[in-house]
């Protein structure tokens, strides 16, 4: 069984990109389009790593991160926030919400893979 990664972003473009970049490495990837979907996915089948966008409808990445980290059953799942340039205040809130690391869009394949490998086998 490959390691499970949950990809969360409200744009299909980014999700598709990340899936393509990681596809050849045997990870088991699922996707969610907003924080609430992501929480449901985490509850249903806890992943080994979450790549989480910040600005999303319904529930943003920061709130999602806070909830994952507040739940003792899921707080050990590493969360890498996928950020955009020019939003320092938001990113700071994400850090305070307990995310483990971050990536900045546009994410290069090398960075993405390295960050993933720095958290899971």
């Amino acid at each position: 069984m490959g390691r499970k990664i949950l990809l969360v972003d409200d744009t299909e473009t980014v999700l598709l990109f990340m899936r393509m970049m990681l596809s050849t490495y045997g990870y088991d990837m699922t996707t969610a389009h907003d924080g609430r979907e992501a929480l449901a996915a985490v509850q249903a089948d806890p992943p080994d790593l979450i790549l989480l966008d910040i600005m999303m409808p319904v529930m943003d990445g920061i709130e999602c991160c806070r909830r994952v980290k507040a739940d003792p059953k899921t707080n050990r799942i590493p969360i890498v926030m996928v950020t955009t340039k020019g939003e320092p205040a938001l990113v700071e809130r994400a850090f305070l919400a307990g995310c483990n690391d971050y990536l900045t869009k546009p994410v290069s394949k090398l960075e993405l893979l390295a960050k993933v490998r720095g958290f899971i086998d």
Binding site: M20, K85, P88, A89, F95, Y102, A114, G118, F119
Partner: protein
């Protein structure tokens, strides 16, 4: 652009359109409630998503532009743009610029519109980019923490009361694969610490050819000694750890919330699936009605076939539903258009929408948009009077256009109603006569007169404006609607306004049709066009001047068309009283179609006609019937148009003949004008 990105591009383009539509929509709302926090946040979110997606597919120019939009929205929100109206207008234009440039961007070409708008945005924003939060240096030796948000992260760690430490370390002497070992080390380290940055950076650990040094910046609750012990436990042979000094934090902004739970699938795939389902439906009905199977008289087989039939129909419904989309987006585009057109004309016009959730086949949206654009342009230009005239005639200063959609008898009705001056029938008749659509002495009912506006070249606009009145338009609308097997109903009252009703099927791949027989031929009449069917009695039928056959029904005398004659079927003329008349309406003209029999009402899957058959323009398509035979779908509007023109069908066919196989018509019969009998 590399192959992988190219593959994503179509997804991006589609998504970008969604974001642009949402921006348009929200801007319209914002215009009404300029102080709405919610709308500002929604705008920010859309611009932001667009920026992220554009950056992902490496469309840097667009990403930067989206960033400038964010900036402008943010400033508007904070009340820092002195003329908010101008700011919103600029946002509208920016959305248009992106929309205009998207196709070119997707092919790697330049983005002239965006470039132009970007300059204007920069001018408005005063070139002074948003003052970035002044970030203090984290101090100490952590200058390799160069990532976008590394410094903020360090501040956040400190806010949480954690220590920030730096370690310079060397991997064990016998490390065979340094990068691999470094990943493993980081994974181990992350169990108790937050890794802020490394040197070489994580994306470039391949550079680590020897054992080190590898520099790591971490946050956590421990002391430098704790970190050292931990690193040694992880197998590091040598390390130096130190604590970094503190500095001040940064302020806060923005938040986010809306709904969505969808996946995007390529249209082609859905079309392929729907096509296959169509074939399945046909095969299923062939199998189910096979005499051989019925001869078996097996109760079980009968039950199973029944089940197969039900599942097939459910599958067909499900397949069609996948192609259905709500009209909301299309309607809102119209809202934007009315706003812009009204401004151009210096008129005050509101567009009131209803039934935006009505769903239609996605493939029909484009032709529908085209039709609506024409009709709305007409309403704005000719329908709604200038303000002065409205006030003089005691109407509200602001003109109103209602655009609504609702379901009716298996189809969808799109209704566009304006409260303008109504059609000028005198002008229409004049023009119609000029263009030869009305013959000397022919008297037309109001309905028939109105229908003339759908004739090519007929425009009653006294002057050609930028918006409409070029004499093209409504006939294009009619053709567009017909190509979807729909029809248009028009009503107008002088001084009160005009109402166009577009009666459309919900999908173009299936049509609800009445299957009729004429000799051995089978034809399908779209149910949307059918008014009623009846067996005529002798006293209903008569001919006029031995040329027109007419049917008298419910106080109206209407033309009667023999299908057999229309299509030159070599059949012995039949007594109409032994036949059936299907009353239909097309092109504002009611008439009867004389057929041998009405066989069934059924849904058929439409196949478009190949070029060779197209000359027979009385057909809008073909369908494979449940017995495996092909039936042609009648274009009631074309037949109606022919009647209206009052030309003999022989003339008509010669004019259209494209092949040598056009023999002389078997009957030289003429079909009468649509006028009432004397």
């Amino acid at each position: 652009m590399n192959k992988e990105l190219e593959a994503i591009l179509p997804v991006f383009v589609e998504e970008a359109h969604d974001h642009l539509d949402l921006l348009d929509r929200t801007l319209l709302e914002l215009e009404k409630q300029p102080d709405s926090q919610e709308h500002h946040l929604q705008l920010l979110r859309s611009a932001h998503s667009l920026k992220g997606a554009a950056a992902t597919v490496e469309l840097d120019q667009l990403a930067e532009f989206a960033h400038a939009l964010e900036e402008l929205i943010d400033r508007l929100h904070r009340g820092q743009i002195p003329n908010a109206g101008a700011g919103i207008e600029l946002l509208f234009q920016s959305v248009d610029a992106i929309r205009a440039d998207l196709p070119a961007l997707a092919t790697g070409a330049g983005a002239p519109e965006i470039a132009g708008m970007a300059a204007r945005l920069a001018a408005l924003l005063g070139n002074a980019a948003r003052p970035e939060q002044a970030l203090g240096q984290p101090g100490g030796a952590a200058e390799f923490a160069q990532g976008e948000y590394d410094k903020i992260r360090i501040q956040a760690l400190r806010k949480q009361g954690l220590q920030v430490l730096q370690a310079d370390l060397w991997l064990p002497v016998d490390t065979p694969d340094a990068p691999e070992a470094a990943f493993e080390l980081l994974r181990g380290l992350r169990k108790a610490w937050s890794v802020v940055a490394t040197d070489p950076p994580e994306g470039d650990l391949g550079r680590l050819d020897g054992r080190g040094p590898l520099r790591v910046l971490v946050g956590g609750t421990g002391t430098p000694d704790d970190l050292r012990r931990e690193l040694q436990d992880l197998g590091v042979s040598r390390c130096a750890c130190q604590q970094l000094s503190a500095e001040p934090p940064a302020p806060d902004r923005r938040a986010a919330p809306s709904a969505r739970s969808t996946i995007k699938v390529d249209m082609e795939r859905i079309d392929g699936l729907v096509d296959l389902i169509g074939e399945l439906v046909i095969v299923e009905s062939m199998v189910s009605s096979a005499a051989e199977l019925r001869a078996l008289r097996s109760e079980q087989l009968r039950a199973h076939l029944g089940q197969l039939g039900k599942i097939t129909r459910d599958l067909q419904d499900a397949g069609l539903r996948m192609r259905m989309v709500a009209l909301r987006g299309t309607f809102l585009r119209m809202k934007r258009m009315v706003r812009d057109l009204a401004r151009q004309h210096g008129k005050q016009i509101q567009l009131i929408l209803a039934g935006e959730d009505t769903e239609m086949d996605r493939g029909m949206l484009e032709p529908i948009v085209e039709a609506m654009v024409h009709l709305i342009r007409n309403a704005v230009d000719h329908g709604i009077e200038p303000e002065g005239e409205r006030i003089r005639t005691g109407k509200p200063r602001m003109g109103t256009i209602h655009l609504s959609a609702y379901r009716q008898s298996g189809g969808v009705v799109l209704e566009l109603r304006d409260d303008g001056r109504g059609l000028d029938r005198g002008r229409i008749l004049e023009k119609g006569a000029e263009l030869g659509f009305v013959r000397e002495g022919q008297s037309l009912s109001a309905e028939e007169t109105d229908a003339l506006i759908f004739q090519p070249g007929l425009s009653t606009a006294p002057r050609v404006t930028e918006v409409s009145g070029r004499g093209v338009g409504l006939d294009v609308v009619r053709r567009g609607v017909e190509s979807m097997s729909g029809r248009i109903k028009l009503s107008s009252r002088a001084g009160e306004g005009t109402c166009f009703k577009l009666l459309l099927p919900t999908t173009m791949s299936i049509i609800d049709g009445m299957l009729v027989a004429c000799g051995t031929e089978r034809y399908i009449i779209p149910t949307l066009s059918v008014l009623e069917s009846l067996r005529p009695t002798r006293d209903m039928l008569f001919s006029h001047a031995a040329r027109y056959e007419l049917i008298h029904i419910r106080g109206e005398t209407l033309p009667l068309v023999r299908l057999a004659a229309l299509f030159d079927l070599a059949l012995a003329p039949r007594d109409p009283c032994q036949s059936l008349v299907v009353m239909v309406e097309g092109m504002g003209c009611k008439f009867g179609l004389l057929v041998d029999d009405v066989l069934a009402q059924q849904q058929v899957v439409i196949k478009s006609l190949s070029a060779g058959v197209q000359q027979a323009r009385f057909f809008s398509g073909a369908a494979i019937l449940s017995d495996g035979h092909v039936g042609l779908i009648l274009s009631v509007d074309e037949i109606g148009a022919m009647i209206r023109r009052g030309r003999s069908h022989a003339e008509d066919r010669t004019a259209d003949a494209t092949g040598p196989d056009q023999g002389a018509p078997a009957h030289g019969e003429e079909v009468g004008g649509c006028s009432h009998a004397p």
